[in-house]
Symmetry: C2
């Protein structure tokens, strides 16, 4: 049985907002970058999958933070895969500050996509490649929940997917989605150092040149989001802040 793998991160000036604490987007970016690095290091990254015309696609993601670390602070990301089934592989993360306390937790669920048919592959046949890396430790937080349709949006905005938004696949980058959603919220709320939980469901990719429509509404004590590209829904999200 494998162990959790640890990565050291330092909060650089480019990671912080005007409160001099790491932004949620930079923390989420570090988490997802470590997911890629860890898979690559262990031999089941997108580089290896690509040779079989397969790729990992993020399906659902949840992250929660008790507080955000300060500029020049350092923290450790521990990551491990806890389980997988036919459709989803679950990769987990904890973030531990230099005081030894866990201040962040994240759970990500990934599909393996056939790049020709654009459909999900049954991982019970192909994911043997990462079976040896399963760690016998449950997710450190509630798994990403399924988010329902938004209903009436109180706030909307538009954004055309540009060169700087896209990743190696010409798809809209996950962290740019998160930035665009946070940018719709009251700045003093986003910049406050409250406990926060962010759930995201990815429904469909958006591509270079598509016009995104973002809707946002405060419902049941949380902020709910829906993003569509050319009329087709591509993402739902919910963010809640501790009172």
């Amino acid at each position: 049985m494998a162990d959790k793998t640890l990565y050291d991160i330092r909060v650089e000036p480019q990671d912080v907002d005007f409160t001099l604490r790491a932004t949620l987007a930079s923390l989420g970016g570090s988490i997802l970058n470590i997911a890629g690095t860890d898979a690559q290091t262990k031999g089941f990254g997108v580089d290896v999958l690509g040779r079989s015309n397969l790729s990992w696609v993020l399906s659902r993601f949840a992250m929660e933070f008790d507080s955000r670390p300060e500029q020049y602070g350092s923290y450790v990301i521990a990551t491990w895969i806890s389980d997988y089934n036919r459709l989803m592989s679950t990769r987990n993360f904890t973030l531990t500050g230099s005081d030894g306390r866990i201040f962040g937790r994240a759970v990500s669920q990934w599909c393996m996509l056939d790049l020709t048919t654009r459909t999900a592959v049954d991982m019970t046949s192909t994911a043997g490649m990462h079976a040896q890396w399963i760690v016998d430790a449950p997710p450190p937080a509630e798994r990403p929940r399924k988010i329902g349709p938004l209903g009436d949006a109180a706030l909307t905005s538009e954004h055309r997917v540009a060169y700087s938004d896209i990743d190696f696949n010409r798809h809209m980058n996950t962290m740019r989605y998160i930035e665009l959603m946070l940018d719709m919220l009251p700045v003093d709320l986003v910049a406050s150092d409250r406990g926060v939980r962010f759930d995201v469901n990815f429904l469909r990719e958006s591509r270079y040149g598509q016009m995104l429509t973002l809707g946002c509404a405060e419902q049941d004590g949380e902020w709910r989001f829906a993003v569509s590209a050319d009329g087709a829904e591509c993402l739902r999200a919910a963010i809640s802040f501790a009172v």
Copy 2:
């Protein structure tokens, strides 16, 4: 007399575009982040200046690249201050690939700002703090040139300065300006691996919530840009690609 200081950088997946080469924005980001790190390490960073109610402000910046490094490639940034006068301190950079060849050069010119009066400080009296770090080596490329007004813009776009765009000072981040400008160009041009030179003149800061108007036109074989915030010009830039 001091020597150039070296920093190792690796091109991570989050730094590349769909050609799997580092974006101009990520290269520029690395350069400017190293500027901050180097000043901080040597005792004249914004942290120390802040205690005297002073700060460094980027006034002009030029970067040129013969090619862009590939994902997982590594390179070395050498940085040094070549000279300063009453108004400007000149910090230089070369980027050297793992083959030992210099593929990128940059020159940045910084003012020292009094944060109360918002005016430039005469550095001949205050910059003794960095005099010992001057290196006897000239800039590796033409210094940033003065860019004239744009005239008629062939393309325009608007962008409201959002939470994700701003830095620790609540000002629009330099790299986000560069991303917004590159996003106005034909994507195949920006993604091509041609030689490129980028000159930027910073005229005025823009702040959270301001509406930016970007204008762009092809003039005399280069792309020229002007950015205004609420009607006041804040930036001019020019980018030229090798044929």
